[in-house]
């Protein structure tokens, strides 16, 4: 339960940053915090009490005493995708800074938002 609360707080804090911050890099940081929150939420959904990791490294481990492996596999994918998005976002930030010499969105806005 504690995990859920932590994860949801992360998501909300990240979204708050994205919605209110004026600095481009801050917005990207907010996005990455949201990503972390979603990942934590997903893993905690797959958790089973008193179970082990889903790896049959010892003969004594049995299938009915293991956590759900599917969320783990999906989060693995999601983390990498999050990194890809962050990289592209930061590339765009560098480009924008190059044009405007500022990171403040209020000074950048040319197109209507």
């Amino acid at each position: 339960m504690l995990y859920y609360i932590g994860a949801i707080s992360l998501i909300l804090i990240g979204m708050y940053a994205v919605l209110t911050k004026k600095n481009l890099l801050k917005i990207v940081i907010g996005l990455s915090i949201v990503d972390s929150g979603v990942n934590l939420l997903f893993i905690s959904v797959g958790y089973v009490k008193d179970a082990t990791a889903p790896i049959f490294s010892l003969p004594s481990l049995t299938a009915d005493k293991m956590v759900d492996p599917v969320p783990q596999a999906l989060v693995l994918t999601a983390i990498v995708i999050g990194l890809a998005t962050t990289a592209v976002a930061l590339g765009l930030v560098i480009r924008l800074y190059d044009h405007h010499k500022t990171l403040n969105i209020n000074k950048i806005r040319q197109l209507k938002w």
Binding site: V18, V38, P71, T77, A78, T85, V88, L92, H99, L111
Partner: protein, 486 residues
């Protein structure tokens, strides 16, 4: 080896990984690759098309039966839309061939090919998380291509798109998570059978998450703020891909999920309502635009609104009309973007004002623009006429006069601003001598699209006979479940 639906993804991916190596040999080879890929895929689609119309082809990946492995669901609707995507994709490639002269060319072609492949994947997949992956492929290619010209506005539009797009994917991922936590499965057909395991509160939340997440891709009001900027700042062929292909994929995904999991009268009413809002607000906004590509972008949003209305009505007739409209819109909007791309190039300005007199200076390109404009308004003898007529008939049959009138209002506004642009084009004015010509490949691309539009307009039967199975496949959830979980 028989053509299998998985090749829609596998071959472009293979080609994309090959492009950097080909780039070391020659640039021409790189430029030709996407064309060959799409030509081959179009050929495959046409082979596969009749089979998929009879019975959905469910292709298993990695040899595990659904729901344990990922399966691709190539049903009639998907077949209809994917065939459209591959053909339009080929034509857009043809147009790009001479249009894109800016380096890095091999990166452009790679991203361009993956943008279309990602959309194909969204249309094809039968697995919820797999759809997320393809959504991300599409989005990342789209962000990069929006900023491809590397100017001020391009980077800004791309950043805006990225911001909204990240919200879209986060929401979608959250919905996948909630669904998985209750049903324990990710396969669409399997989830549809177990949807009642989700308690009502969570189900409502999932619905909101999906509508917001996919609504952003489908440009539903009020989530479409990214679209006009992205469309107008991206290179023209990319604008055509956005309007012709990516939006269709997003809309299909949203409608597929809603129809499979949440098909209640209230949701359908809500779709109609949102469709009307999208249509009217977008058409009104398009009216006020001074830049031609922004006008096209808003018109594209408006057309999506029209499609959402027709899908929301949810009868057999309206659904097939909606699919027909999607098909027409893909062709016509691509044509308009093609023509607008060269008109902007020739006049050196994005403003509609500055197009004055180009109709005499660049007759062929302007003619194609006029054809596109008339077709999208819905005048005979072009294909746009039939789909709009079918939508109106189906709305009238459903007995809702208010909706009918609102659609007509939208269409009238649309007609006004398109005709305004066309009239501007054909107003006589001395234009400074312009030696730049529209290259042959661009003209051929436009010609092909115009020919298809005219042909379908004269013989609507060629498309119409496929609409019934496609609409049936979209509407009939029970069949989907049965086919998806053999």
């Amino acid at each position: 080896m028989e053509f299998s639906p998985v090749l829609y993804i596998a071959i472009p991916l293979f080609a994309a990984f090959l492009i950097p190596l080909l780039g070391k040999v020659s640039k021409t080879l790189v430029k030709l690759t996407p064309g060959i890929v799409f030509l081959y895929l179009s050929y495959g689609s046409i082979l596969l098309f009749p089979k998929a119309m009879e019975k959905p082809i469910v292709q298993v990946v990695a040899g595990f039966k659904p729901p344990f492995g990922i399966s691709l669901y190539y049903g009639a609707t998907a077949a209809f839309l994917i065939t459209m995507v591959t053909i339009v994709g080929f034509v857009i490639w043809l147009y790009s061939y001479k249009f894109i002269i800016r380096e890095p060319i091999e990166k452009y072609y790679m991203l361009f090919m993956m943008l279309i492949t990602g959309s194909t994947g969204i249309l094809l997949t039968g697995d919820m998380f797999n759809m997320f992956v393809f959504l991300e492929i599409t989005s990342i290619a789209a962000y990069s291509l929006t900023a491809f010209l590397r100017d001020k506005d391009g980077a800004e539009a791309a950043f805006k798109y990225l911001l909204i797009g990240s919200f879209s994917s986060t929401f979608y991922l959250l919905s996948v998570m909630i669904i998985y936590s209750y049903t324990g499965t990710l396969n669409f057909a399997d989830i549809a059978g177990k949807i009642d395991l989700i308690p009502p509160m969570a189900k409502g939340f999932v619905l909101v998450l999906v509508l917001v997440g996919m609504g952003i891709e489908a440009e539903m009001f009020p989530l479409n703020g990214w679209a006009p900027d992205a469309y107008s700042q991206a290179p023209s062929p990319v604008g055509a891909v956005f309007g012709g292909i990516v939006v269709k994929a997003g809309l299909y995904a949203m409608i597929r999920i809603v129809f499979l999991f949440f098909k209640t009268p209230e949701v359908m009413q809500f779709l109609i309502f949102m469709g009307i809002l999208t249509l009217l607000i977008a058409e009104m906004a398009a009216m006020r635009q001074h830049q031609i590509k922004r006008m096209l972008a808003f018109s594209s949003i408006g057309q999506m609104g029209l499609v959402i209305i027709a899908l929301g009505i949810g009868t057999m007739g309206s659904t097939s009309a909606a699919l027909f409209q999607m098909f027409n819109h893909a062709l016509i909007k691509s044509l308009l973007f093609f023509a607008a791309g060269y008109l902007v190039f020739h006049s050196g300005s994005k403003q509609i004002e500055d197009l004055e007199g180009l109709g005499y200076d660049k007759p062929v390109t302007s003619f194609f623009f006029a054809v596109g404009a008339l077709a999208i308004i819905g005048l005979p003898p072009f294909s746009g006429f039939w789909s709009k007529l079918l939508i109106l008939v189906s709305v009238a049959k459903a007995g809702d006069i208010a909706i009918l009138l609102l659609i007509l209002t939208g269409s009238v506004i649309e007609a006004i601003y398109y005709l305004r642009a066309v009239v501007k084009l054909y107003t006589r004015k001395e234009v400074p001598d312009n030696v730049r010509r529209t290259p042959i490949s661009g003209l051929v691309a436009m010609g092909v699209l115009a020919a298809i539009i005219l042909y379908v307009g004269l013989y609507p039967g060629v498309i119409e006979k496929w609409l019934a199975p496609a609409a049936n496949n979209l509407l009939n959830a029970a069949d989907y479940i049965k086919a998806g979980l053999f």
